[in-house]
Symmetry: C2
Subunit: 113 residues, 2 copies
């Protein structure tokens, strides 16, 4: 698969699910442009497109919490990526290991917020 043949959305972005190679936990979801994907592949440092700052975002560049890219999978529709990383510190800007640290209450559950 050539990365030009992946399906990017109307903003030229593709969602990237980030999973920890060690724990299997889903750490975060971010977006990649073609350029950030090419950089992730060539540098092996996970690099995203920051939609808020509208610029390339080398994860960990300011925090030191880099993510080393181990594998990049793509789905059956070629419109979503699964990036398996070795993390060098927490994924979340809150300091949490993963961005998914809160949950919804489900019908019949007594836990959850």
């Amino acid at each position: 698969m050539n990365i030009d043949d992946l399906k990017y959305n109307e903003q030229g972005l593709i969602p990237a699910i980030v999973q920890d190679i060690d724990t299997g936990k889903v750490l975060m979801m971010a977006w990649m442009s073609r350029e950030s994907l090419a950089l992730s592949i060539s540098t092996r440092k996970a690099t995203y497109w920051s939609r808020s700052r509208k610029k390339l975002w080398i994860k960990g560049e300011s925090s030191g919490n880099y993510q080393t890219v181990i594998r990049i999978l793509y789905d059956c529709d070629a419109d979503t990526l699964l990036v398996i990383v070795k993390k060098n510190g927490p994924a979340c800007h809150t300091g949490s290991e993963t961005c998914f640290y809160r949950e919804l209450a489900l019908e019949g559950d007594t836990t959850g917020e």
Copy 2:
């Protein structure tokens, strides 16, 4: 967290990463509307919004490959969901266990396509 307070995109949708409770594998990514999320919570059957068919999509309704919702987490920005499911058959329409069954070649790798 009230599901009305989650951040839906301009189409009223929120991405849902689907992870297998048994294997930890990421199975697929789909989109949920507020209504499909409410149904997933109340029925415990994973229900998405089909962007191609523009209708509610009870996963497994035609294939029998239902997904029972075990937990639903949301991320720090409240704009992405992580749905942990017990699957009743393959997640992918191709018959593959997960939609992520192909990978990109990385710099320095000899594997990948």
